[in-house]
Symmetry: C2
Subunit: 531 residues, 2 copies
């Protein structure tokens, strides 16, 4: 199946552009690029459609990920006769959480069984929920799934850029230092230009004074002569404390040193919309969300361990052929089919549909993505480095960012995300064995924190492009694909409808799956009502 | 006792400066000013002193706030014979949490009994813990007090500045909009100056190009001509979603409009050190920390409801006279006394000490501070405005900031902080009855969110300068006081030692109390060992 990966990697301007970005500036830059491309932004629908009066018709749903679960929950509640076929023995699709006992065998790979200590876990699929994903948040609220803050921005975390030059290259520096020093110096430079009259066409009289006041505040410039000489926000050499200790502020870095290090690539006047605060994660793991949905779907509707082989249809009905958990070939007949599985997987199923539809299904690539959870015997990043959650940005695109857990603060052990890479970098790392990946991640982290490699106890890694029922992280539409294949797939082919994050502008986000499901079940409902 | 407040308000350059700041720019500006003055920064000590071999001597501690509890815990563990006299019926001092049944009668005021629903509360004293307060975090870790993130910066929260001018004055705008638009425009302006050669003395050749790349990234400027034309981070008019909805970005505000609104006063290149991420709060309320300390102090050591009237001393001993919970006059004799109560209270106790010491005790003012918790019947700020935790900054200094709860997300009801004001503004609001304060806060919030006033169910307010055993929020040293009175109070007067946040450069923070206690008990220990 690895050949599928190669197929998915066919040149597409958007993906190539993102890969290029990642190779230059690591995942921080990649994320900025994704944002700039409107690649996975936020959600527009906040409540499911009204399906009242939907009795009688039979619906078969393929896939028990977020889209399929959403559709099954809403349609069965509305009185539809629903059957959901899920290939795995559990619900959730990519919304997985690896904890003790969780197993994964990548295609062509060895079986991994997670050996994390009790209560520890890694969300190796989707892992964060922006405040504006109101569609997904509709269900966490409805089912009372407790949420906690996902720390997506941490002033005190490290930036480790080693591909620049100068004294700060290859040195773990704090985000607060980079932000204070470079922005402070930029404010000083702009203040000088304003004072010299360079912007007198834009700013006159009182506005000029007010703008200078803004610059002074923004850059913590001196009151009299608008100089940046450091600020407490960049940290102290000696922290203030009790008694005769007012503390000693650390001296700023040289502006050119910060510039040459490349660490400025992590800055932005405001976080991209899909990376903004506040972000959430479910307490206990991302799989708590699909578990809550599955728990609230009437028993018998979800049939686990059922692998779909073929979908047939005629003018009156659709018939889905599958192999059940006992290896028995079976089929289910329905009025409509909603295929809520990745296109990367759907394209391998014998689907009775038009050539145009079939063609469109192959018209999108899927992200190559790798993640690894490392169980550390001690939370040295908290204890010694005073970093609680958030990302350590690197410019090594085979590592991307290292992310500290936003849960279990001050406890003994923790699982951190050791890498998060994309595209060709993910392909390369995914060729390693699990043990090699662990060693690779440990060595990379060791360059940043001296306690790193020795603290690793175990790991769990995933390369989503090598995962049987996903074959990729998420859909990556090219501009061309959005124009041609995408609209085709939004409409039914006969009695077959599609749903998933791939049919949204929130690709790679659970909210995209939920909203796509809402949109498509509304269409089915409308047709069923008319029939 | 209100006269005490007047005394505490005697002119001191630092406090006056801060009040002036607050009157101009609300609490955001005040906080920035506090930061600029090094007023309450971070902690330097991360572990208690080693008191080994401290057997035999008797210590009486006055006050069961964070300093007194810390001292009692460490000294009794080290083998000292400790008695702690606490005026209240519970431990914690200012580290209080108001929940159902909690009562407070301010001096000259009516009795308030908190009627919040179960599980709801307000931390009306200290409420947040910066990551660098390792001294306080030493105890949360030691005693397993669960922490959760305090959202101290929320991109999507409102700024409501009504004292500026132009179309954005008196309009609730989002922090993300202000940050993106003003910083974006500033980056554009600086890029223009750089391109025109205005900074050629500082930036040459490749550095110039790299600096322009930084500006493009920082301000989300267009690739070709370095223009700021908006960015997704400022938000969407129509959020992207499923199907044929790529979303519609909102247009930027005019730079002069943002400037004239005054909302830029909330911006800063980096948060002041004591306001940085990550910040914590204990799950369930700030009083969980003193409760954990008190629970771990041997029974009998803490004597509650004991009000100290007099401290006598001679060459051999110290004797503390107090009235116990039954109204009985009693005394306790010890080798040393550690007075861990606010100087605002200590100055009213008959203390046998030198004139110089007595004089020094009066040499500091205490902050006038007001807070109100408002129970809302519905979390409309989450449901309708998609704001989860964080501050709404205003430029009304009688309100300061409104803070949304960083806990219980997506639940039905919530308690928010309706105001947080200082100095003269706090004095003014504190003259109101509790009901008037509630109405005042409700009306102010109503201007920002239309659901506000109608949602208020109950309130609990505090004016710390009117609270019997505190008489102020925290010590506010003048530069002069730091030079004269402060060093005097750090050293014992005979057998009497002092401790508390007031004897640190972390005034107003629990960590200041903890570190001061550590410092002073180390001194007592050293002397006891030598004796």
């Amino acid at each position: 199946m690895i050949t599928d990966v190669t197929a998915a990697a066919a040149p597409l301007s958007r993906r190539l552009f993102l890969e290029k970005l990642a190779s230059v500036g690591g995942s921080a830059l990649l994320m900025a690029g994704m944002s700039a491309l409107g690649f996975g932004i936020e959600s527009a629908m906040a409540a499911p459609p009204n399906l009242s009066g939907g009795r009688g018709k039979k619906i078969v749903i393929l896939g028990g990920g977020m889209a399929g679960l959403t559709a099954a929950y809403e349609m069965s509640n509305a009185g539809y006769d629903v059957t959901l076929l899920e290939a795995r023995s559990f619900a959730g699709g990519r919304s997985q959480t690896a904890r003790k006992g969780f197993t994964l065998t990548e295609l062509g790979g060895e079986k991994q069984t997670c050996t994390f200590d009790d209560v520890l876990y890694i969300n190796h699929g989707p892992w964060r929920i922006p405040y504006h994903h109101q569609s997904l948040l509709h269900y966490t609220r409805k089912f009372g799934v407790p949420l906690e803050i996902f720390v997506n921005d941490n002033d005190h975390s490290y930036i480790y850029f080693e591909r620049g030059s100068g004294p700060l290259a290859g040195k773990a520096i704090r985000k607060q230092e980079v932000a204070a020093d470079l922005r402070g110096k930029a404010a000083e430079m702009l203040a000088k230009c304003v004072q010299q009259g360079a912007l007198d066409q834009q700013l006159t009289g009182g506005d000029k004074e007010m703008f200078l006041s803004y610059l002074r505040r923004e850059g913590y410039l001196t009151a009299k002569d608008f100089q940046y000489v450091g600020t407490d926000g960049r940290g102290f050499e000696v922290n203030p404390g009790a008694g005769l200790n007012p503390g000693k502020e650390a001296a700023p870095y040289g502006m050119l040193d910060v510039l040459h290090s490349g660490a400025w690539r992590t800055l932005g006047s405001v976080a991209g919309f899909e990376q903004q605060r506040t972000m959430f994660q479910p307490v206990g793991g991302m799989d708590r969300i699909p578990a809550a949905l599955a728990r609230n779907i009437k028993p018998g509707i979800i049939r686990y361990s059922c692998k779909v082989e073929k979908v047939a249809q005629d003018a009156d009905k659709v018939e889905v052929f599958y192999v059940d958990g006992q290896g028995q070939r079976r089929s289910v007949t329905a009025d409509y089919c909603l295929a809520a599985i990745p296109l990367s997987v759907l394209r391998n199923i014998d689907l009775a549909c038009s050539d145009k539809f079939k063609q469109a299904i192959t018209g999108v690539s899927y992200a190559l993505v790798g993640k690894i959870g490392l169980q550390m015997k001690r939370r040295f990043w908290e204890e010694n480095h005073h970093i609680y959650g958030g990302h350590i940005y690197t410019d090594n695109p085979e590592i991307g960012s290292i992310t500290l857990p936003s849960t279990g603060y001050q406890s003994q052990k923790g699982v951190l995300l050791g890498y998060y890479q994309f595209g060709a970098n993910a392909a390369k790392v995914s060729a390693m064995t699990p043990a090699q990946r662990q060693a690779f991640a440990a060595a990379a982290g060791q360059k940043i924190m001296p306690e790193y490699a020795d603290s690793v106890e175990s790991s769990f890694s995933v390369a989503w492009h090598r995962v049987e029922h996903n074959l990729g992280g998420w859909a990556q539409w090219s501009d061309e694909g959005r124009k041609t294949a995408y609209p085709t797939l939004l409409e039914p082919d006969g009695r077959i409808y599609l749903a998933g994050e791939h049919l949204s502008y929130l690709t790679g986000w659970q909210a995209g799956a939920v909203e796509s499901a809402w949109q498509q079940i509304a269409k089915i409902h409308q047709r069923a009502q008319a029939a």
